[in-house]
C-alpha cells in the first residue's frame, strides 16, 4: 500500500513537523552502521527500531568480527561489550555417538584480535548508542508499518504511533531477514522455504572456571564449535560458543527440510543436547534464555536490487549472509556503512534518485560481500539438488564409521581397512559415480 503525502496533509491535518535527511529502519548492525556513518558526516538522521531498545529481541550465534567495524570505528573492541576473544575454532562432524573433529588454535588471533563472541542485547545497544552520540535521533518502540511513496519515489515512512508519518530525503531499509518493507517495495518476494533456515538457541549458564576448563581456555580466550550431522538428516548447522560465563548453543535447519520431515526445531536442539560430545560440555548448566530466529541462506542468487529512488536496502534484508563462514553481522555493518556513504554523497549532490543511490549497488559489487557470496553461489543449488539425508545424515555418519574402523586395532590388514573405509563412504554417497559427482559439485559450489 502506498499513500501520497499531499492527501494525508489535508486528511489528518497534523504531521510530525520534522524532516530528516535520512531515515533508517532497524537498529541492528546494518541500520546502526548506516546511521552512524550519516550522522558523523552531519546528516540529520532518524533511527527507528521496533524493540524497546536496540537489540532487545535480536539474537545471533554469535561471533563478531573485527575488520568491518574497525573500518567504521577504530579500536571499537576497546569500548564495546564483548564476551571472549576467539582464539580457537573447531568443526565437529557428528555421528550418532561419535565425532570427527578439526580445529585451529592460534595465539596470533590475539594481536590483533580477529573475532569475539558476543550477545546482541548488549552489542546492538552499544552500536546504536554510538549512532545516537553522533547525532542520530533514536525513535524506539516504534514499528515502521509502510513506506510512503510519491510518484514512485520513497519519501518517508509511516509508523504505528499517532501522527506517525515521518519524511526524509531517503530511507535506508535495514529491517532484517523478514524485511516486510523490502517486500512492500517489490524488490523481493516472501523468501521460499529453501532460502531461509530457522535457528533456535539457548544461553546456558555455567560457572566461569568450569567453562574455561571444559573448553581449554584462559582469561578472556574464547572458542567456537560448529557441528554438522546428527540433525535428523536435515540440512543444518549447529553451534556452541563460549561467552564469559554462559554457552550459546543452537542449531539452524533449512525450513524446507523442517517442513518435509515435520520436525520442530527445538526437537533438533533437544536431540543435539543429548549427543555425548555436547552433553558433557553443557552438563550442570542452567538454561537462561531460549530464542529463535530466521537466517537468510539464499545468498548470491537471492540478493535483491539494492537501491532505487529514495531508498537503499542492506544487511539481512538483502540476504547478505555468508552461511559457509557464518558471517552476517560484518556484512551488515559493511553494507550499512556503504549505504551511509552513498547517502552522504546524495546529500551533497542533492540527488536521491537511483542515479546517485545506485552508487551503493556498485560499491557492494566491488566489495567482499558480493565477491564472497558469489564464490558460494552454487551451495544453494547443491542443497536443492542433493538429498539432505545424504549430505547431512549418511555422509557424516559414514565418515565417523570409517574413522572408527581406521583407528580400531583388531588385526585386520590396514589395506583391507582402507578399502572398507572408502566403501563405507561410497555407499553413503550412493555409489562410485555419485561420490565423484558430489565431489565435483561440492568443489564447484564452493569455488564459484
Amino acid at each position: 500500500m502506498t499513500v501520497s503525502h499531499t492527501s494525508l496533509r489535508s486528511g489528518m491535518g497534523i504531521l510530525a513537523e520534522e524532516r530528516f535527511d535520512a531515515i533508517v529502519v532497524g537498529a541492528g548492525p546494518a541500520g546502526s552502521a548506516a546511521a552512524y556513518t550519516m550522522a558523523t558526516a552531519g546528516l540529520k538522521v532518524a533511527l527507528i527500531e521496533r524493540g524497546e531498545f536496540p537489540g532487545a529481541k535480536n539474537i545471533f550465534g554469535g561471533v563478531l568480527y573485527r575488520k568491518q567495524l574497525e573500518d567504521l570505528i577504530p579500536e571499537w573492541w576497546k569500548e564495546a561489550p564483548l564476551e571472549r576473544a576467539v582464539i580457537e575454532q573447531r568443526m565437529w562432524i557428528l555421528g550418532k555417538e561419535s565425532a570427527v573433529t578439526f580445529s585451529h588454535r592460534n595465539e596470533r588471533y590475539k594481536e590483533p584480535p580477529n573475532a569475539w563472541t558476543g550477545l546482541r542485547v548488549k552489542f546492538d545497544q552499544w552500536l546504536a548508542s554510538k549512532a545516537e552520540k553522533a547525532g542520530a535521533v533514536p525513535i524506539y518502540e516504534t514499528v515502521v508499518t509502510e513506506l510512503i511513496r510519491e510518484n514512485g519515489r520513497v519519501v518517508g515512512v509511516r509508523t504505528d504511533r499517532d501522527q506517525g508519518d515521518l519524511y526524509g530525503d531517503l530511507v535506508v531499509l535495514a529491517d532484517g531477514v523478514n524485511s516486510l518493507l523490502g517486500k512492500s517495495l517489490g524488490v523481493h518476494k516472501e523468501w521460499a522455504p529453501d532460502e531461509v533456515s530457522l535457528a533456535v538457541k539457548e544461553v546456558i549458564a555455567l560457572p566461569k572456571e568450569k567453562l574455561q576448563d571444559r573448553f581449554n581456555l584462559e582469561d578472556n580466550e574464547g572458542c567456537t564449535i560448529e557441528f554438522i550431522g546428527d540433525t535428523f538428516g536435515m540440512a543444518g548447522l549447529g553451534f556452541m560458543y563460549t561467552n564469559q560465563d554462559t554457552i550459546s548453543l543452537g542449531v539452524g535447519v533449512m525450513v524446507n527440510d523442517l517442513k518435509k520431515k515435520r520436525i520442530k526445531p527445538y526437537e533438533v536442539l533437544d536431540a543435539v543436547k543429548q549427543h555425548p560430545s555436547i552433553r558433557r560440555m553443557i552438563q550442570g548448566g542452567e538454561v537462561k534464555e531460549y530464542s529463535g530466529h530466521l537466517i537468510p541462506e539464499g545468498g548470491f542468487t537471492s540478493m535483491p536490487p539494492l537501491s532505487g529512488d529514495g531508498w537503499m536496502i542492506c544487511g539481512d534484508a538483502a540476504q547478505m549472509v555468508n552461511a559457509v563462514h557464518r558471517e552476517g553481522t560484518n556484512l551488515a555493518v559493511a553494507s550499512g556503512k556503504m549505504a551511509g556513504e552513498t547517502a552522504v554523497l546524495a546529500h551533497q549532490r542533492g540527488d536521491y534518485s537511483i542515479k546517485t543511490l545506485g552508487e551503493y549497488d556498485r560499491n557492494v559489487k566491488e566489495s567482499f560481500i558480493h565477491n564472497d557470496l558469489k564464490k558460494y553461489r552454487g551451495i544453494h543449488g547443491l542443497f536443492k539438488e542433493m538429498n539432505s539425508d545424504t549430505l547431512f545424515g549418511n555422509l557424516p555418519q559414514a565418515l565417523n564409521d570409517a574413522a572408527y574402523e581406521w583407528l580400531l586395532v583388531d588385526g585386520v590388514f590396514k589395506k583391507e581397512k582402507q578399502k572398507k573405509a572408502i566403501r563405507t563412504l561410497r555407499n553413503a554417497a550412493g555409489g562410485n559415480i555419485d561420490l565423484l559427482r558430489l565431489g565435483i559439485k561440492g568443489w564447484r559450489a564452493i569455488n564459484g
Binding site: I14, P138, I139, R161, D162, G164, D165
Partner: protein, 277 residues
C-alpha cells in the same frame, strides 16, 4: 489556565524482579527502570484534562540523575515540563523525608510557573507499596486529598471544582471539592496513552530541569535524606504461600460442572457475604 503537577517515581520493573533465594532480598541489578505504573495513570488523567480544558502539566520526580529518562517519557506523552529533584543529600529518604522534599518542590513549581490546581500521585509505588507520599504531600501543601480515585466525573475549570469517585473497600464514594486538590490514582482511572511521534521526537532532545538542595535555600537539612528518615526496617521476609483447601470438581458435562460449582459455592459463607443469599 489550569496548572497540574504529576509526581512520578522511577522504579525497577517488577515484572523482571527476582528474589535472591539465599538472602531473600530483591535482585535489583540489571532490572530495567520504568515509570511507576500508577503514576502513569495520574499523568494520563492530567493529559486528558489538558486535552479537554487546556492546562500546563509539570512532572516532578525525586531520584538519581538516571531518572531523567522517566521524565523524558512523560514529556513524550505530552507533559510540558519535567523537574528532576536530584542531590546526594536527598538519597536514602523514607516516605516522610520524600513528602517533605516533594512538597517543597511543588511549592517552588507553583512559584516558577503559576499556582498549582491539581497534584496527581500514583496510589502507591511498585517497589515501596506504602501509599504514604501522596497524603504526606497534601498535608504539607494544605491541599484537600482525594485518595484511591478511580474516576474523574466532572471538572469545572472556571469554578475550580472537581467531582471524583473514590474506590473504598465497601463501595464507591462520590466527592465534590474545590481546587487545589491532590489526587492519588488507581489503575481503573484510565488507560495511559502511547506517545505520538512528535512527542517522541520532542522528548529525545528534551532535558529536564534539575533542582538540587541549592535550589531550596530554606530547606531544613535535618528533614531530608537518610537523616530525615526515621523509618526503621525491622525485618523483611518472603511470606509463606498460604495453604488453602482445594477441591477439584469433575463432571461429564460443562452444565453439570457449573451446577456443581454453584452448589458448592452456596454451601459456603460467600453468598451471604456478597449479599446474594
Amino acid at each position: 489556565m489550569l496548572h497540574i503537577v504529576v509526581c512520578i517515581k522511577q522504579v525497577p520493573d517488577s515484572r523482571e524482579i527476582r528474589i535472591d533465594p539465599k538472602t531473600n532480598t530483591l535482585i535489583r541489578q540489571g532490572v530495567p527502570a520504568i515509570v511507576n505504573f500508577y503514576d502513569l495513570h495520574g499523568l494520563e488523567e492530567a493529559l486528558r484534562i489538558k486535552d479537554e480544558f487546556g492546562a500546563r502539566v509539570t512532572v516532578v520526580s525525586m531520584g538519581p540523575p538516571s531518572a531523567d529518562k522517566a521524565l523524558k517519557q512523560c514529556v513524550a506523552m505530552g507533559a510540558d515540563e519535567g523537574v528532576l529533584i536530584s542531590d546526594r543529600a536527598f538519597a536514602g529518604a523514607d516516605t516522610l523525608a520524600t513528602s517533605y522534599v516533594v512538597a517543597l518542590a511543588i511549592d517552588k513549581v507553583g512559584k516558577e510557573w503559576g499556582p498549582v490546581d491539581i497534584v496527581f500521585c500514583g496510589k502507591q509505588t511498585l517497589d515501596g507499596d506504602t501509599g504514604q507520599v501522596g497524603p504526606g504531600v497534601a498535608c504539607r501543601l494544605d491541599f484537600d486529598q482525594l485518595t484511591y480515585v478511580e474516576k474523574v466525573e466532572h471538572l469545572d475549570d472556571s469554578k475550580k471544582e472537581i467531582i471524583v469517585h473514590r474506590h473504598l473497600e465497601d463501595g464507591v464514594e462520590r466527592v465534590k471539592t474545590k481546587m487545589p486538590v491532590l489526587i492519588t490514582a488507581l489503575a481503573e482511572l484510565n488507560k495511559p496513552r502511547r506517545a505520538a511521534l512528535p512527542g517522541v521526537l520532542k522528548s529525545v532532545r528534551y532535558q529536564p530541569v534539575v533542582w538540587t538542595t541549592n535550589d531550596f535555600p530554606d530547606i531544613d537539612r535535618a528533614k531530608i535524606g537518610l537523616k530525615g528518615s526515621p523509618t526503621i526496617v525491622g525485618k523483611t521476609w518472603v511470606p509463606e504461600p498460604k495453604k488453602v483447601d482445594t477441591q477439584m470438581l469433575t463432571a461429564d458435562s460443562t452444565d453439570k460442572l457449573a451446577n456443581e460449582l454453584l452448589d458448592s459455592l452456596f454451601g459456603t459463607e460467600l453468598p451471604a457475604k456478597l449479599g446474594w443469599a
